[in-house]
């Protein structure tokens, strides 16, 4: 039924968005592109990045070598574009991956894209609540930049432009749904970033214990948990953006799934007891847990405006799941989420201060508190402290010297509720054109069961060399 609904939606959107004039190539041309076109052999554009990195972990002095990079092939024609982006990172869940592979047609009032693509929505600065089409690769936790963490998704994307190209209606359909990707193998080069999927539920349900009990490696346990969640498909997104009177704004709608699986906590607890007693298998524990991705509709609003020389940004999203009443312990409740902040140059050196707050409030939390079975709360979202609003502050201070040859940066990401944080100091030095040397030191602080505190033993210093070609 869902597939039929989506198919008819797709056809409807195609008709609406393609009603305009037959496409014509954008007129005019550039000196640079005409020069490139003359050199036929160089019509194919090959670019990429290579970044070897060494990380020295403060806790045990261990040195990890890391190599990331990408290779991009694109045919950047005036009306047609074909792009292939290959990412590689040893130790990642997918070490070599075609992260983007698409064809795009540029018409006068619309663009059409088909293939694997990364689409980023929202006015936030590398933090969003209305950007839901692509999953994140957390193999290296959140150490890479936001865009570098996005996993390409096969999609059809149609952009229809209005008001001379200043307003844009985007339609996206993806036949598949990709969940977020977590580090799987503790023995891999990125093994320090493995997250125990059961940390929040049962404090004694550690990966090591399960691994021993099931006679599997930790990587195999994680893989088994991942495979236990039911596959989902179909995502649909619609977004309108415009710019008027000094304000950029947008409205969006997403239909798909939450990327963190929900589960049946009561059944998981009961079956785990049997497993601990040796009366059940780990597979049956996972089966009883009923790992699933909750379907969701997300209604989003975004805005950007310069206010008192502050580049201000705002996003607001309402997530509506199937549990609108809030009383189903196996399905996440509705919630609202936000990003608010901005950046401003300071009158000292070339300093720029960037401060953003992101958070969410789970609705109907009284229903969560009421989901009690046999004296225990069985709601997957239950919080002992009764805290159903989270807030995170992201502060970045950046300066530059010698005409942007040297760029120091201080970043602090702080969870206000759990008091855990990441603090990173980094310096970029441009050795020569397209070759940047970076020194950084990063620390993680907080309790073991917090987002950042779980990596408290992962403080590291790093130096990397990024070459762009």
């Amino acid at each position: 039924m869902k597939r039929k609904v989506f198919k008819s939606l797709v056809f409807s959107m195609l008709i609406i968005l393609c009603l305009a004039i037959p496409a014509a190539a954008f007129d005019g041309g550039g000196f640079y592109e005409s020069e490139v076109e003359e050199l036929e052999d160089e019509a194919l554009d090959i670019t990429g990045e290579l970044e070897p990195e060494f990380r020295i972990f403060s806790d045990d002095g261990e040195i990890d070598e890391n190599l990331t990079g990408n290779l991009k092939f694109s045919y950047p024609g005036k009306t047609h574009e074909f792009k292939v982006l290959i990412d590689f990172q040893p130790g990642a869940v997918e070490e070599i991956e075609f992260n983007e592979l698409y064809y795009r047609y540029f018409g006068k009032k619309y663009n059409f894209l088909i293939g694997k693509h990364v689409t980023i929505w929202g006015k936030g600065d590398k933090v969003h609540v209305v950007d839901n089409l692509n999953a994140e690769d957390m193999s290296d936790f959140i150490n890479p930049e936001y865009k570098d963490r996005q996993i390409g998704e096969e999609m059809i994307k149609i952009d229809r432009y209005f008001r001379g190209g200043n307003a844009n209606l985007e339609f996206v359909y993806t036949p598949d749904f990709t969940p977020n990707r977590l580090a799987e193998d503790p023995e891999s080069p990125l093994g320090n970033w493995v997250i125990n999927p059961f940390t929040a539920q049962l404090s004694d349900l550690t990966l090591r214990k399960i691994s021993t009990a099931t006679n599997q490696t930790e990587a195999e346990v994680i893989s088994q948990v991942k495979d236990a969640a039911a596959d989902e498909d179909n995502q649909f997104g619609l977004r309108f953006t415009d710019s008027r009177g000094g304000t950029d704004y947008g409205l969006s709608y997403y239909n798909g799934y939450l990327r963190t699986p929900g589960y049946d906590k009561a059944a998981l607890n009961a079956k785990y007891k049997e497993f601990k007693a040796g009366n059940s298998t780990f597979s049956s524990v996972l089966e009883a847990a009923d790992l699933h991705y909750d379907s969701v509709d997300v209604f989003g609003f975004e805005l950007a405006r310069v206010i008192a020389d502050i580049n201000s940004r705002f996003e607001l999203a309402y997530y509506r799941t199937d549990d609108t009443a809030g009383d189903d312990p196996t399905v996440r409740n509705n919630k609202i989420a936000w990003v608010i902040g901005g950046d401003r140059d300071l009158p000292i050196s070339n300093l720029n201060l960037n401060l953003q707050f992101t958070g969410e409030k789970i609705l109907d939390d009284d229903q969560i508190e009421n989901n009690i079975l046999q004296g225990s709360n069985v709601d997957a979202e239950y919080d002992e402290d009764g805290d159903y609003t989270t807030n995170r502050a992201i502060l970045k201070l950046e300066d530059s010297y010698q005409n942007e040859k040297i760029i120091p940066e201080l970043t602090w990401i702080y969870n206000l509720n759990d008091n855990d944080y990441i603090l990173e100091a980094a310096v970029d030095y441009e050795l020569e054109q397209d070759l940047i040397l970076t020194f950084a030191h990063k620390i993680f602080r907080g309790d073991q069961d917090t987002t950042f505190g779980q990596f408290e033993d992962n403080d590291f210093s790093s130096f990397s060399l990024k070459y762009s070609f």
Binding site: G28, N166, V306, N403, D434
Partner: protein
């Protein structure tokens, strides 16, 4: 007697004419010179492929290639739409910057960063910021509001074979401007600044200097400079901004028809 009156009349007429000439020569003041600079024909639209070399005190060069389109959208208020695309080097390739000038309020500005994957609105009020790491600021690349300064003609002198007016400009509202004052050498023939000294707002000392490095020639009937160097005298860093050539022709054109879509969010995002 009649002859005497005639001679006196002729002498008076001659004096008057010469005096008038002299009055005309000294009548031009700093303000008028800058008005002529401001009113100089720069075309209704401009398109150029440019090089921008960042040269440090050791002589190391970081070259950039950028393409600029500019179009007047309000002739009365002299407002322009401008878009700049960076083609080289790889690390900033396809970075695009769009500016829409406003009257009486900050300009609307956006930047598309390929690493961010989206368009970002930026403040038009921070014109004192360095343009992409160069010694030019965003304000340096724009025309000034003529009414925002007091002008004084300091002298007339020859500079680099050009007869010039030397004009001092002091901002009426120093807090809103990036320099304490500027002194410009303006050619009498073309009303083009061939040298500008910029004085630091805090120290009041000379700290930046802009000089043209090419001849002034006519392209499409418009007097044009093809190469300019801005030097930071404190750090010794220089930026050379020049029009690129192909087959001995400058890649610069005026008064071409530029589609309005070139200055839209669509073009900013897609480059098409």
């Amino acid at each position: 007697m009649k002859k005497k009156i005639k001679i006196i009349s002729i002498c008076l007429m001659t004096l008057f004419i010469v005096g008038s000439l002299n009055m005309t020569a000294v009548a031009i003041d700093g303000r008028e010179i800058m008005e002529r600079v401001d009113n100089r024909d720069t075309g209704d639209s401009r398109h150029a492929l440019m090089g921008m070399d960042l040269i440090d005190a050791n002589g190391d060069v970081r070259p950039r290639v950028l393409e600029v389109w500019s179009q007047k959208v309000d002739f009365e208020k002299d407002l322009n739409h401008n878009i700049i695309i960076f083609h080289e080097p790889s690390s900033i390739k396809n970075t695009r910057f769009l500016q829409k000038e406003n009257d009486g309020e900050d300009d609307d500005q956006w930047i598309y960063l390929p690493d961010l994957g989206r368009v970002r609105r930026i403040s038009g009020g921070q014109g004192g910021d360095s343009f992409m790491g160069s010694d030019f600021t965003y304000d340096d690349l724009k025309s000034r509001e003529i009414d925002d300064f007091e002008y004084k003609l300091l002298k007339e002198e020859e500079y680099n074979d050009y007869e010039t007016y030397v004009v001092e400009a002091i901002p009426k509202n120093p807090a809103e401007e990036q320099y304490a004052k500027t002194i410009s050498w303006i050619t009498k023939e073309h009303y083009i600044p061939v040298k500008i000294e910029m004085y630091d707002k805090d120290s009041k000392e000379l700290y930046k200097e802009m000089k043209i490095k090419s001849d002034i020639e006519k392209i499409d009937g418009i007097w044009t400079v093809f190469s300019t160097v801005m030097e930071n005298l404190d750090s010794g860093h220089k930026t050379n901004l020049y029009v690129k050539k192909r087959d001995n022709n400058y890649l610069l054109e005026y008064n071409v028809e530029i589609n309005d879509k070139r200055f839209s969010q669509q073009f900013l995002k897609t480059g098409r």
